[in-house]
């Protein structure tokens, strides 16, 4: 039996049926990591010893009947911006180069309660600020489909680890597309849940009003099973929403008859690669043949989402990242004169260029004299964007479009022109502004051999419609070979 090619749910079933032991699964994936890490660099930290000791502990609990969930014993990778007790958590930044949290994030605790074995922490853009995983202080991650290309970002390490079979599933976080875009670039499934569905407790904050944790995984069935584990109401996160409809696996139904799907014309204009366009429209055709009602419409305001997002996200980041001051944890500069000089030097040496760029912009748009013109203006436009989606969801169950305008760019091509890089977020970013759920699923491969992602967007709390639509499409599409670089 080839353990590595199994999905998370099929491995969980095999463990439950005693066809595979947890230790066998962990050893298989650890040897895979050892074999492939020098090539792909998906992880900042691999916790080999910890994973093996968790394996024995989890096996004991499964055998004792204490752990009965579908993913008990399945090894998982965690993005390095989620706190893990006793395990280095860097946010891919030099400023947290030695930070060992004394507690775990709620999403990680939920996984542990379900019997997950944590393999390690995946690479990301520093503080989740980027679209390529190239802003990491610990080296770039390479796309397993072609190592000359980026895996996307900011959850690039998580997406690449799933694509390269260096884990069975992973957690990522999504502030403006950081789960869906790397999922698209690496040919895996990714879901950004409705804001408030997964607790942000222990997630190192970037843009608090936009951040959500979600799964990166091999198929839609895994996606639904993981969501049932990580979604929870958490009193420790004041924006956590109490939901009663967390039975995501009940939506794994192969049927879209009568489902109303809207295709925003504004998502198919200038800048969209023709091969991406063709693959996405072909997927819409598949859903139509399965009985969905598919039509085009005008969403409007699409071009205003990026400037709105960068204003709000930078403002929140400048405030959230004030805590990194070299006092209680993290990097402290060697030489300094007095307290303020120590703050300034520690931060200037500890943060990378993109993080500093966003902190500076955020400090500016929040400063006296500019707050109304920039920050409040962006919050007003956010209200208009939310309204445009409300109008769309009065007519449609699901909005369908591309995840990104292109497939994965080459390494080293994106960082020199920030605005051009930000434009790559055009189809993902407004979903975070409106708090909506968005799912990315592979729908083809371009002529360069790189995967193309289909994005399904739902109204707030409508993940199940996305899961049902994606599952139906996946059944019709058939297996999607996660072909790795030879």
């Amino acid at each position: 039996m080839d353990i590595l090619s199994m999905t998370a749910v099929s491995l969980g079933t095999a463990i439950k049926n005693k066809e595979v032991t947890v230790r066998e699964a962990v050893e298989a994936v650890l040897s895979r990591i050892e074999e492939k890490e020098s090539q792909y660099h998906c992880y900042v930290t691999v916790d080999k010893e910890g994973a093996l000791s968790q394996a024995d502990e989890v096996q004991r609990k499964i055998d004792a009947g204490e752990l009965t969930g579908p993913l008990a014993g399945v090894p998982v990778a965690i993005k390095d911006n989620m706190c893990t007790e006793g395990l280095l958590t860097t946010c891919s930044s030099k400023i947290l180069n030695n930070f060992v949290p004394t507690f775990s994030s709620e999403a990680v605790l939920n996984l542990k309660k379900a019997g997950a074995v944590i393999l390690g922490k995946t690479n990301m853009d520093e503080f989740a600020m980027g679209s390529t995983t190239e802003t990491s202080a610990y080296g770039v991650t390479k796309n397993p489909w072609n190592t000359e290309h980026v895996p996307g970002g900011s959850s690039g390490g998580s997406a690449a680890a799933v694509a390269a079979d260096e884990c069975f599933y992973a957690l990522g976080s999504d502030t403006g597309g950081s789960i869906r875009q790397p999922a698209s670039f690496c040919g895996v499934v990714g879901l950004k849940p409705t804001y408030g569905t997964v607790s942000r407790y222990g997630l190192i904050a970037y843009g608090s009003s936009l951040d959500q944790i979600g799964p990166l995984c091999k198929d839609v069935t895994d996606c639904a099973a993981i969501m049932e584990i990580i979604a929870s109401h958490d009193p420790k996160d004041s924006t956590s929403v109490e939901r009663k409809d967390l039975d995501f696996t009940s939506a794994l139904v192969d049927d879209v008859k009568g489902m109303k799907i809207g295709i925003p014309r504004d998502y198919f204009g200038e800048g969209l690669d023709p091969e991406v366009k063709e693959a996405v429209l072909k997927a819409a055709e598949v859903l139509k043949e399965k009985g969905a009602v598919v039509e085009e419409f005008d969403l409007s305001l699409v071009e205003y989402a990026i400037p709105t997002y960068y204003t709000i996200a930078a403002a929140e980041a400048s405030s959230n990242l004030e805590r990194f001051d070299g006092i209680k944890y993290g990097y402290r500069t060697e030489e300094y004169e007095g307290l303020h000089n120590m703050y300034k030097k520690s931060r200037s040496e500890g943060f990378g260029a993109e993080v500093k760029r966003r902190i500076m912009l955020g400090s500016f748009v929040l400063s006296s004299g500019y707050y109304d013109a920039y920050y409040l203006k962006a919050l007003r436009v956010k209200a208009l964007i939310k309204k445009a989606f409300d109008d769309a969801f009065a007519k449609y169950d699901v909005i369908l479009g591309p995840v990104a305008p292109t497939t994965a760019p080459k390494l080293g091509e994106s960082l020199s022109d920030p605005i051009k890089m930000y434009l790559g977020d055009i189809y993902t970013i407004s979903i975070n502004l409106a708090g909506l759920p968005g799912l990315s699923i592979p729908c083809g491969v371009d002529s360069k051999g790189l995967p193309i992602g289909l994005q399904l967007i739902g109204d707030c709390f409508n993940e199940k419609k996305l899961i049902q639509t994606a599952y139906t499409y996946e059944q019709a599409r058939g297996a999607f070979g996660r072909k790795e670089d030879k």
Partner: protein
């Protein structure tokens, strides 16, 4: 470029952001911030008169809880992350003369 960022502005933002930039970084920051603000100025095309700023997409309310200690004493582990520690306390540069 419509937005010209002055040296004074960059100095001021550096103070707000607690960042110390080299001359080279300052020049780059002036350029980057100017072009980002040009881009953000696009929002001015939209009439938002009468639109309330939306900070949260859902109606959020304060979440209260009883003020009860639920975590244990974790001083040793917390201090082990500190760049400077002495006698169970964080070491910081002298701030009062």
């Amino acid at each position: 470029m419509a937005n010209i960022i002055s040296d004074e502005t960059i100095e001021y933002v550096g103070i707000l952001a607690k960042l110390e930039l080299s001359d080279e970084e300052k020049e780059q920051a002036k350029k980057d911030m100017g072009s980002m603000l040009d881009y953000i100025d696009k929002l001015g095309e939209l009439d938002t008169t009468g639109v309330e700023p939306m900070s949260h997409v859902f109606p959020v309310k304060n979440v209260f809880r009883e003020d009860v200690v639920t975590n244990g004493d974790d001083r040793e582990n917390i201090l082990s992350n500190a760049p400077g520690e002495k006698d169970g306390m964080f070491v910081v540069p002298r701030t009062f003369e």
